[in-house]
């Protein structure tokens, strides 16, 4: 078993955040789930997360802003973007922010687990 990595999932889609959290918890990670950016940032303020999965397109504060805020709070957090959209502008911005990876939905769970196991 790996060390207990703290993982934050920020997604407005309940199906995604619940199933992804379920898989990760099943794999032994400590997972916190929030339904929007604001709550995600609040969670990051309370707890230090090693890893964060942030949906790029959300109502309210979007993925990019959420990323920036969390990075301000805990610069060492490794952040994965999740998206169902191929929006070049957003992707470019995400690349500039040096996100770990951009994960396209439907998510390749095997790949995610592999990546996590190397951290």
């Amino acid at each position: 078993m790996q060390d207990q990595l703290n993982i934050l999932i920020v997604d407005d889609e309940p199906g995604i955040r619940v199933t992804l959290a379920g898989i990760l918890e099943d794999d032994g990670y400590n997972v916190v789930v929030t339904e929007d950016g604001e709550k995600g940032i609040t969670a990051a303020e309370k707890k230090n997360f090693d890893i964060a999965f942030i949906d790029m397109r959300m109502p309210g504060i979007n993925g990019i802003k959420t990323f920036k805020e969390i990075k301000k709070i805990s610069p060492n957090t490794i952040i994965f973007f999740m998206t169902a959209f191929l929006d070049e502008d957003t992707l470019n911005e995400a690349n500039k922010l040096k996100a770990q990876e951009i994960l396209y939905k439907p998510l390749d769970v095997d790949l995610i687990l592999k990546i996590l196991s190397t951290i």
């Binding site: 995604i16 199933t19 379920g22 099943d26 169902a84 939905k105 439907p106």
Partner: protein, 539 residues
């Protein structure tokens, strides 16, 4: 009937000349007759005067003896050289006829000739013209005979003293009247002779000369006109080089020169017309070539419009497809995660005594999610063909690599004709490979009952040509136009995106994709990729 101008001219000129001839002959003969009649009258006066002055006559009258007149009458007849005297008559003062005789050849009875009476106080002879019932004409002369005067001294004295007016002859005693008649028969004969010997031959000569003269005049006028007519005929038949050779200075000459001028003008006009016709032909040619160009432009415009419509359709479909696909990705992702977790839990035997089918069905779900995901990716790929990453590539290698990835049924014979030593092309091998897979699959689907699949590569002009042809069912002409349209499909399970995606990728490579198909014979897809493309850099 057509009467020529020559005949008309001759006829009217002859008529004119004849009329003038007849009129002048009439005038001439009338004058001659008047002259003859005057002469006859003069002769009559002369004869009767001589008779009146014949002393023997006076003597005979005073004694009233008929026989005494024989000698004077004989003398009278001797004087009548022309034998014109027709009759003679001696009338006594008392009114008795002493003597009356006529020439035997005179038909009229002497008694029917009127007697001259009541000639008192007349000294000179009297003239009358008698025409008898049978048509005979007589110039009748009568003179009174007075008794011979004895007082010659008195007469002399009267003349000497100038009192001639006082001298009165009435005082003389009338002895009787002598009457003679002259016949104009001789004049008539003379006139007839003149008519037959002079007038008629002269008239004939005049008419003949008139006809001759008018013939020559007519010839002079008509000949050039006939020449003009001949030339006019030739000109009318199209020979505009004809010229009338008349150089006279009269109206005919003027007509001829003006006719020649007219012919020249006509020729010039016709030449101008021919020039204009030539020009028109040229203009017409140009117009038809412009027309051909116009038709071509029109076709190009139509193609461009079709392209535009397709592009608009693509854009609309793209917007819709992209919206729907993205929205589907989240639920698919959630389902996929759920299936993943369930499968993992089951594989760890967390739940005992589980039916085999649960695992099997979860596998089906996983596969179907992947398939749905692929459809969405296709849709997104079509709406947004990523800019190709073009690298210098050997097209034959791409073809061969593609062929390892597709399953070709056993009843399909594959024949490759890949030209060796082909130049490298700047392409995105993944995208082109995707197209080839798509096209090969389509070809195989068209040959369910078997057939031949041909794949060839070659350089054609400035393009790399990749041809994929099948001997399948072919595509109906109606369908052929629409096969590149997005969402158009004839397959029961097709999305109608495959060929639209192919076309999108080829267009991103600045190439073209063409299709030729004949029902029952097969279909031929031709991809042309530019060998040198400034968007791609040197190959």
């Amino acid at each position: 009937m057509k009467i020529g101008i020559r005949l008309k001219f001759i006829f009217f000129t002859s008529l004119l000349i004849a009329t003038i001839g007849i009129a002048s002959s009439w005038f001439f003969s009338t004058q001659t007759r008047i002259h003859f009649e005057d002469e006859l009258k003069k002769r009559g006066y002369s004869l009767i005067t001589q008779l009146a002055q014949d002393g023997e006559v006076k003597g005979s009258m005073s004694v009233a003896q008929k026989a005494f007149f024989d000698e004077p009458i004989r003398r009278l007849r001797r004087l009548d050289i022309e034998q014109e005297i027709a009759y003679w008559r001696v009338l006594l003062a008392q009114g008795n006829i002493l003597l009356e005789e006529k020439e035997k050849w005179i038909k009229t009875e002497i008694e029917k000739i009127p007697v001259n009476k009541n000639m008192e106080n007349i000294t000179d002879p009297v003239f009358n013209l008698y025409t008898t019932g049978n048509g005979e004409q007589f110039y009748n002369f009568a003179v009174p005979i007075y008794e011979k005067r004895s007082i010659a001294e008195e007469e002399f004295a009267a003349q000497f003293f100038g009192s001639d007016e006082d001298y009165d002859e009435n005082e003389e005693e009338l002895l009787g009247i002598i009457q003679i008649g002259l016949t104009p028969e001789r004049i008539n004969k003379k006139m007839q002779k003149i008519l037959w010997v002079n007038s008629i031959p002269l008239g004939i000569i005049i008419v003949l000369v008139g006809v001759g003269v008018s013939y020559f005049i007519a010839s002079g006028v008509v000949k050039p006109i006939e020449q003009l007519v001949k030339i006019t005929d030739k000109v009318a038949a199209g020979d505009l080089d004809q010229k009338v050779a008349i150089s006279s200075r009269d109206e005919i000459g003027l007509l001829a020169s003006q006719f020649n001028q007219m012919t020249r003008n006509l020729k010039q006009l016709i030449e101008e017309k021919e020039g204009v016709t030539e020009k028109l032909k040229y203009v017409n040619k140009e117009l038809s070539s412009i027309n051909i160009e116009l038709v071509q432009k029109h076709e190009q415009l139509n193609d461009a419009q079709e392209q535009l419509v397709r592009t608009e359709k693509l854009a609309a479909v793209g917007t819709l497809a992209s919206g729907v696909s993205h929205e589907l990705r989240n639920p698919l992702s959630a389902i996929k995660n759920a299936v993943f977790l369930l499968k993992r839990k089951l594989s760890r035997n967390v739940i005992p005594d589980i039916d085999e089918k649960v695992m099997q069905f979860l596998d089906i779900m996983d596969k179907e999610i992947d398939r749905s995901s692929k459809i969405i990716n296709d849709l997104l790929g079509f709406t947004r063909v990523a800019k190709p990453t073009r690298l210098s590539t050997d097209i034959n290698a791409v073809v061969n690599e593609t062929l390892t990835r597709v399953e070709i049924a056993e009843n399909i014979k594959l024949s490759k004709d890949l030209q060796s030593d082909l130049p490298m092309v700047m392409i995105d091998a993944n995208q082109i490979g995707q197209i080839l897979i798509n096209l090969i699959e389509n070809a195989c689907q068209a040959m369910i009952d078997g057939g031949e699949l041909k794949i060839s590569t070659k350089v054609s002009e400035s393009f790399m040509a990749i041809q994929i042809s099948d001997s399948g069912s072919g595509i109906p002409e109606k369908v052929l136009k629409k096969i590149f349209d997005p969402l158009f499909t004839t397959k029961a399970s097709g999305t109608g995106l495959g060929l639209a995606l192919c076309q999108g990728i080829i267009q991103k490579h600045n190439g073209v994709i063409d299709v030729k198909s004949q029902e029952g014979i097969g279909t031929e897809m031709l991809i042309k990729l530019p060998l040198e493309d400034k968007d791609a850099g040197p190959a």
